[in-house]
């Protein structure tokens, strides 16, 4: 535990800290609230008045010890039912890094929440109970992390104190999980034996497991690389807004405002505007009040081009050397996130980067069961929390990347035009859900030939 002065000393230089977004998956039974509570508590993010409030409510209910879950379960319905029904965001910091934690519930009916939390995460923590090992739920969490292409996965094997801090118990679980997740395409897996309750290897190294030589959970969170994957891809710049002051001071200024979705952009670079295909050269980059020669994801900037061409919100600017193709036929894996179903033939809106177009769901080739990765051909519709494949035809061309190449320009939403509901979260191109991993089972409705 660092002293307050050390903590404060670290806070005084904010330019030296980076930001890590991570998600946790696991059920309350696995000790997730305890793990999150300990991370917050030991990094001094739970403050006196919050603890007092929790203690007061716990005492009112006749509980002897403060119920840490109260810190993290925010809505009345959840407190009444004792469950977590939504994604909650939590914030804490150490001297090295600022963290945004998307805390997601682990139950099967909340797959959509884990998908939501994982969509912006650089890292996912999957929690298992050392006594139970890898169970269906664990495989589901691994599959969601793989599908959403979260760059780093941590397997936290919790409750090691209940299995005598045995290395063998940990190694068996770590091996089984690593094999499974690697097979699904998870690029980096770090397994850590912990006891959230006793505090082993969460923030402090464990004295009970000297056989483990790796980092604690917090050390790993502090040192794992962030955003490297964003700058390694070809540059993509979705235009959000055109800035034209038309003032006496700036009579001819025309800038294209947006956030660089991936890659690096440089002044002097030849670019292509999609879907029109017109070309120009980057004349200047205004990085929020400062003129720069180079900018990279995820910076919000304004680009100025050499030629006066017609560009508006929804267009994509990319280096001519690595511009994406445009298409009106989108094949994708989707997670259905709405209560109303999505059926073949549905007319929807598709939102991709800054562009929203009309679309029709042409086919739903298969639905995936996350527990065993079995596929069910032609389910006809998808319902809440389903993962499936869709084929969509759009009214206008999209400059879409494969989600495997770029999370930001390969993702999209399907929206109900009637009431604006977000129906599905889409990931363009191939994924493990599009390959026959296991025996294909027919749906109960019978054969689909």
């Amino acid at each position: 535990m660092t002293s307050t002065t050390e903590q404060v000393a670290g806070f005084v230089d904010p330019s030296a800290t980076t930001l890590l977004r991570f998600a946790t998956a696991g059920s309350v039974d696995d000790g997730k609230s305890t793990l999150v509570g300990r991370l917050l508590h030991d990094s001094k993010s739970i403050l006196t008045d919050q603890l007092e409030a929790v203690e007061a409510v716990s005492a009112q209910r006749g509980q002897d010890t403060p119920d840490l879950a109260l810190l993290t379960d925010g809505l009345r319905a959840e407190r009444e039912q004792g469950i977590t029904i939504d994604v909650a965001y939590r914030y804490f910091a150490t001297t090295r890094r600022r963290f945004i934690l998307a805390d997601t519930p682990g139950h099967v009916q909340y797959t959509r929440n884990m998908v939501t939390g994982a969509s912006t995460a650089d890292l996912a923590v999957v929690l298992v109970d050392a006594r139970n090992g890898v169970i269906e739920q664990t495989r589901r969490h691994a599959a969601v992390a793989a599908l959403l292409r979260v760059p780093h996965v941590v397997l936290a094997v919790n409750k090691m104190d209940l299995v005598g801090y045995e290395e063998k118990a940990f190694a068996r679980i770590a091996e089984e999980f690593t094999a499974y997740a690697s097979d699904l395409g998870v690029p980096e897996i770090t397994a850590i034996p912990i006891s959230a309750l006793a505090g082993d290897n969460v923030v402090e190294p464990s004295a009970n497991m000297d056989w483990y030589g790796g980092p604690t959970v917090l050390e790993h969170l502090e040192t794992v690389p962030v955003s490297h994957d964003l700058t390694a891809c070809p540059a993509r710049f979705p235009v959000q807004y055109v800035i034209r002051p038309q003032s006496a001071e700036h009579p001819d200024y025309r800038g294209y405002a947006g956030q660089i979705a991936s890659g690096v952009l440089r002044v002097g670079e030849a670019v292509t505007v999609l879907p029109s295909g017109r070309t120009s050269v980057i004349e200047g980059i205004d990085a929020l009040g400062e003129s720069v020669d180079i900018a990279w994801a995820p910076q919000s900037v304004t680009l100025r081009l050499r030629d006066d061409i017609d560009i508006s919100r929804g267009d994509l600017i990319a280096p001519s050397a690595s511009a994406p193709a445009t298409t009106q036929d989108v094949e994708a894996t989707v997670c259905h996130v709405a209560d109303q179903p999505l059926a073949v033939g549905a007319r929807v809106l598709l939102k991709h980067t800054t562009r929203t177009v009309k679309a029709i769901v042409k086919e739903i080739p298969s639905r995936l069961t996350l527990d065993d990765l079995s596929q069910h051909p032609n389910p006809g519709q998808l319902v809440a929390n389903d993962i499936g494949r869709v084929v969509v035809r759009t009214a206008e061309p999209l400059a879409l990347d494969a989600y495997a190449a770029s999370r930001r320009t390969g993702s999209f939403l399907l929206i109900d035009p009637a009431d604006g509901t977000t129906l599905a979260a889409g990931m363009a191109g191939e994924s493990f859900a599009s390959q026959a991993h296991t025996t294909v089972q027919a749906d109960e409705e019978g054969w689909d030939f």
Binding site: A88, E249, Q259
Partner: protein
């Protein structure tokens, strides 16, 4: 490589790393531009408090060198600190903006709202706010709310859909995936937008320091006539204090948050500079609201209830 706003540091993720403040700034600017691109008539809630000051600063950066394409709205409780109102008016003038004011006092004078026995007016802001949104037909309303402030807010979306009564239904909130914000809404509905969702109190202060943003003086330590009520140091004034059994004293204090005088408590502090304030906050063992706000202490579900009614 020439100078760049992104601060590259050794040993992190150089060469293409952003500091956490740059990442948060970039995200907030992206949110402002999304709203400008997708909505007809957005408005920024602006009180002259530090969170709304940071919001305005980010909006100015997002659209420079063009002016901010939004107007401002302030729900004036009638018990605001004069220093803060003066700051508000200076900012409006300096940036050539348009300010709408919805006045709680006018509602009370017209008999449309009743003063509470304790004189606390924050809960009375909801009706003037929602009626102003309806009357002026705003379809997007920027608020400075942060998810770290309170438990019910931890689940708030960046784009938060409200029905024609401005009500917040947690079950109607849409999942927010990647950086794809869905702002579609029916006529009469609107979306509350929170560009500072992922910021903490400390981030806000560090950003103010980095950008050299001027703040109302009451955020820094000064001597003030205060009295104790409900465990808070309140400013003596015509709004309703001190009562007969309360006595004033002069103390060296500052404000961590600025709201209605009747429910915003000061903290004992000798921090007269931004650096001193940041050091104090980093070492504080109390949350911003816990230390200074009476209104959130009402009940465990107080904030959730008020959000449902249309408060932020």
């Amino acid at each position: 490589m020439t100078a760049t706003v992104a601060h590259v540091h050794e040993g992190t993720d150089a060469p293409y790393a952003l500091s956490h403040l740059d990442a948060l700034e970039s995200e907030a600017v992206h949110i402002f531009r999304e709203v400008a691109g997708e909505f007809e008539k957005p408005v920024v809630l602006f009180s002259g408090g530090k969170d709304s000051i940071v919001m305005l600063h980010l909006a100015l950066k997002a659209f420079a060198p063009a002016p901010v394409p939004f107007t401002l709205l302030h729900v004036d409780t009638g018990h605001n600190f004069p220093e803060v109102l003066a700051y508000r008016d200076r900012a409006v003038e300096k940036h050539n903006l348009r300010l709408h004011v919805a006045s709680v006092q006018e509602y009370i004078d017209a008999g449309k709202l009743r003063e509470r026995p304790d004189g606390v007016r924050n809960p009375l802001q909801t009706v003037p706010l929602t009626e102003a949104i309806q009357r002026l037909r705003f379809d997007a309303v920027f608020g400075g709310g942060r998810r770290d402030e309170e438990k019910a807010r931890a689940k708030e979306r960046v784009f938060s859909l409200r029905d024609e009564f401005s009500q917040w239904d947690p079950r109607r909130q849409r999942p927010e995936l990647w950086q794809l914000y869905n702002g579609r809404h029916a006529p009469g509905e609107h979306v509350r937008v929170f560009p500072l969702s992922n910021w903490t109190e400390l981030d806000v202060w560090q950003y103010i320091a980095r950008e050299g943003i001027e703040l109302p003086e009451i955020y820094f330590a000064h001597e003030r006539e205060v009295f104790r009520r409900n465990g808070m140091w309140l400013t003596a004034g015509e709004w309703g204090g001190p009562k007969r059994d309360e006595s004033t004293e002069t103390r060296l204090i500052r404000y961590r948050t600025v709201g209605d005088m009747s429910c915003t408590g000061a903290v004992d502090s000798d921090a007269t500079t931004l650096d001193a304030v940041i050091t104090e906050i980093a070492a504080s063992r109390l949350t911003e609201r816990g230390a200074t706000r009476a209104d959130d202490k009402m009940s465990e579900a107080a904030m959730e209830d008020r959000k449902r009614e249309g408060y932020f």
